[in-house]
Symmetry: D2
Subunit: 383 residues, 4 copies
């Protein structure tokens, strides 16, 4: 059995399916897609990629499947799904999800066509694994799909510890060993065994603290919003959406610098827009929290016109309302399966914390910051 050295999980042994999947161009492409896209403009060590993350998810899935006692025939498809769960990502991962969804209607976890358009389906077939089953597992379907995409998936366990290791921010360092060991299948539902309310809480807390400190750091959000805007402009030009969706980070960076030189150059040089508005949920009219991307663009144009600045100098960034998917985690308490939100006092507080972390942002070059600030407050009716 082959093995690959990983800085987080040490040696990761590979079964023959994984060995063959690794050798495909579709999987190797993940070497060129950073796990945390624009976060490394804040935390420079965070240059890890979806390639090693995918290996980590594969590794934790294998360990969990062993611990659950799943026979190898079922397990091998789940392991393959764990390894492949991110191959559908566009360049810069989550940062281009909305753009791709808008142009193709496709989410990054819809692998159906992709498996058949690349060598991946062939490799799976050669190992007697049904590609459609793998695609379903990646969407979180079937009982064991919960291990790949669900409240207790190993994806989350890997990225929290890996992002902590690479950013240097310790909050993500959960006890993944315990989480994986204490998974159980009860009536086809993935649950945590008795005595783990706090283990489940620790997962939520880790996620919440990493959100505030890392994932939603304002510098990363500004760069991300600039990137998304640049991508839209790229796609307004000659670039085809399917070509775009299969780019890797380096392709996109070069394409942007060439075709959208103002924003592309700024991103490359970390010469970022500033916050003209940074407003919490309490001060923002309710209607604003449901803006579509088209609404955002429209608002940005209005603000720019009112401020008398170039329309490309205003970016409006309205995150979706905070969700707390992990609050649905199932834990066994006194022999009974409960949702974590029933079993834990912390969940509602964490909901409030997530709400308090939410910010509407309007960004502009430093020179325009003041004018855009005033205009944006008027357009949005902010206090």
């Amino acid at each position: 059995m082959n093995a690959i050295k990983d800085s987080v999980h040490d040696w990761i042994p590979l079964d023959s399916v994984a060995t063959d999947l690794l050798d495909t161009a579709a999987f190797q492409r993940l070497r060129h897609i950073k796990q945390l896209s624009t976060v490394r403009l804040v935390y420079p060590s965070a240059s890890h990629t979806r390639f090693e993350h995918s290996l980590g998810v594969y590794h934790l899935a294998r360990t969990a499947l062993d611990s659950l006692g799943i026979d190898d025939d079922r397990a091998k498809a789940v392991r393959a799904a764990a390894l492949l769960h991110d191959v559908g990502h566009g360049p810069y991962g989550h940062q281009t999800e909305t753009v791709i969804k808008r142009h193709t209607g496709r989410d990054h976890d819809e692998l159906g066509d992709l498996l058949y358009e690349t060598e991946l389906a062939g490799v799976l077939d050669a190992h007697d694994i049904d590609p459609d089953r793998v695609a379903a597992l990646v969407r979180g379907e079937r009982p064991l799909g919960q291990l790949v995409a669900g409240e207790l998936d190993v994806d989350r366990m890997d990225y929290l510890v890996r992002d902590a290791h690479h950013t240097g921010v310790p909050y993500g360092t959960i006890d993944h060993g315990r989480l994986v060991r204490d998974l159980r299948l009860r009536d086809d539902q993935l649950v945590l065994a008795e005595g783990n309310v706090q283990t489940a809480e620790s997962l939520l807390l880790a996620r919440t603290l990493m959100d505030g400190t890392v994932y939603r750091h304002h510098v990363s959000r500004i760069a991300g919003a600039m990137l998304e805007r640049a991508c839209e402009r790229l796609l307004d030009g000659d670039t085809d959406i399917e070509t775009f969706a299969r780019m890797a980070d380096h392709d996109l960076l070069v394409a942007l610098r060439k075709n959208v030189p103002d924003l592309g150059g700024r991103i490359e040089r970390r010469d970022l827009y500033k916050r003209a508005v940074w407003a919490g949920l309490d001060t923002v009219p309710d209607a604003l929290t449901d803006l579509s991307r088209a609404d955002e663009r429209q608002a940005a144009r209005e603000i720019a016109d009112r401020a008398g600045v170039d329309r490309e100098h205003v970016i409006v960034d309205v995150p979706s309302r905070p969700k707390l998917k992990e609050s649905r985690t199932r834990v066994v308490v006194g022999g009974v399966v409960q949702r974590l939100e029933q079993a834990s006092d912390l969940v509602s507080a964490l909901r409030a914390t997530r709400r308090s972390q939410w910010r509407l942002g309007v960004y502009a070059p430093a020179a325009d910051q003041s004018a855009v600030h005033t205009a944006a407050r008027e357009v949005f009716g902010l206090p």
Copy 2:
């Protein structure tokens, strides 16, 4: 300047005061007092001592004082206080605090007499440091005493990361570098600079998760209660309280095995009592949460008599009601100093979590567990 290698903070440089204090018998004694007393019966790697913890607290104090720009004349007394903050501990640290307090009226952070009874006052004098000032700082008095004992003290920062390192439980791994860097003195109050609500929350969360998983693990609590009971019996014999208070762990272990062989031997062999009752706050009558140690003993005797077992086979363990001292942490929000409980949605939830972690315990040897269970429920009126 000397330096000592530490597994948590790497090299710790020592000033001349620290070098001299280290060479006293009173400080060397801390090598023989474990940081986590009975916790290592659950987490076997947790055999670290108050010696290296004290060095760690000294190190963080020095870093914080430098960052605050305190002149060396004031700073050297604070550094000495940080180094000496734990020399007043009895054997097994917090585990014998109540016993010592009951017999002497003295808390472990009252160093006044101790400094003068040992070489410590002489060493401090020789470096032009007033021992009384050091004693006051250890009690948390004076503005800079907050650094040694207060909501934002470096004691807490060191023990959380150190206990995480040694137990292997990651929850304590806070960002102490940021905490220390972002301390400020505002109107003689120690506060966290702007932008650190979440940093302050992380301290509370770390403490709460470590409490549930490590500090209040039931095995450690059982062993701790057995130890305390054994100490009382030791003190009922010939052992003088002042001799007792100056023992180190090994002295106590040997004294207990010799003078209280049943409990002493059990602790040494980790042959512990079991939980006959383990009841949360919701099921326990209010009056029970305020029991004095004398009340506990009286209840234990009643239970034993009713169960028809040896009176020494029942231990009642009622922790004090959970406090959340860290909720008073001062943070700057929008330029104004606030208490964390005002600034954070999490604090009240963590209070609830602490409440839900609270347990009344009644412990007995396995053979008596069932009889004691029944008797204790009757005596305490539990459902």
Copy 3:
């Protein structure tokens, strides 16, 4: 399956044999024997014990046996041997080996009688494991005994990484994952698979660097020599050697302070003798490198008399000549099994390094240091 959290290997799953062995007094005693005895007087964080080290060795043995594909019937005896390999140690581990050997003729790895005198043999029998077989494996006999005690044993792999973790000295941090994965059995010999000359070298290097920096640090050697001398004096009194051999660290510390108060108190307070002589192999007459303990004592008396100081104020400490057991490690090179010393240019250099690290020491209280220095050079004929 139970599991124990370890700060080095994270969760260590325990089979039923291990679970039962853990509950014996003979194994629990290891909680009270520090892994590195007097080293913690130099590296204060190094307070870990043979208890967690034994768990670590058990864990690596299990992993290695799985990787070698050994069937469970053979494997369970080896795992038990790995867990028990250190139960024969006296207090302060290696530091009392010579004393015990001199009085009983017994090495610490001779478990035969001990297993039967304690509950251990009974537990092994109950799991259908022959205690004599376990004793043989601990002595390194039988092919799989090499895994417990041999050039490639997992004992070494655990202690190097564990001692590095606890001292903070990084040199011991080997790639134990690779070593364990690449073990092979060839003609009943334990070897490292092709491509691992450097892996084997790294083990030697780690050991050599840890030797110089940690294991043979002069402060630890002085304290160790004082301890051994104190033990001899203790045994000259009423203390029986078998009682002595079953003591734990705390028993010994208390017994020494009571019965050999000068040395016992000094060790406890870290008030150590100083180096009056510290001479390398090049300057020491050959005859001196083979001194028995009786010779050392005789020389110490001569030196004391000539210096006109108390005979108990001189300790002579002559380590045995450096060996390099690891140089016999078997590695596969080009399909052929070789000894590492054949395959590696480094081995002979490391032999020279070990020679250059060797020191003859003569220790005395600071006040006598100068007189002892002069006398010792005359007695030993040093330049």
Copy 4:
């Protein structure tokens, strides 16, 4: 003072010079140049960049300068040099050094012109730092230049621990804290204080083990040789050498895929050539160890012709003879400054080890491997 979070050194405080230098395009470019170029094809987590490495070198330089007591006026230029020491690198760092040197005659540590062609000289001037002095320091000139480029430079200290952290291979984890603390200036020479022969040896050992396991891993060497060949072909086309030298990794990857699609595509997909020849120093005629790049190309053509394969399908890769620059490290032994090679038995053995690690490689696509093997042995006269 600003600070940046680093996964290796935790918080790195930045002085005002560093803050301003960071904001230049020339420095931001280092975010896009990986520290270990093709190594991540073997160790996938090794995707760290010269940006964070440069911050780490700056940080260690600052600590060393403080410890040496250098006044801030001298120190600030050295800190700037430490931060900028890698801005002269081409894309893929060391991998394109030879190509750039051949076309421009310039080494990567010659910053003279570059500083003036970019904003860097302006920033330095604004802080009263002479750019020419910085350039000299980066070349290792002047006493304190040894800290930036010399046997005891902090560059090496940072990359060893950083590469260990990111690859997961522990061998690079040196005690940089001790190295930095024990630096001294004696007669304008940087030396290690008394008692550090082994500390100096550990640096050599770490480097040697990392060389064998990481830096010269054959997969990385094959990819590197393919990359260099592809760059030569790129430069045979329209690409200007100065444009090339200022590319970042992503620019080069895109340019190669477009202009040298066979090799560029293979590198991107990790579809690498195989080893047709892999010969040690002992089996290679002496003359072969001094081949210039032109000689290598000529030999590759001869081999291809003889094997009857495409000339682009053969790459000859002859590393320069191993050097051991670190053997010249100065250490104080018995009060006298010595070179490490005088003071240490290990140095000559490590020279032999380096020699034994040396390999001449001839690489070809899998389909041509056998034919090329035969032809290459004939051309090179190998046994």
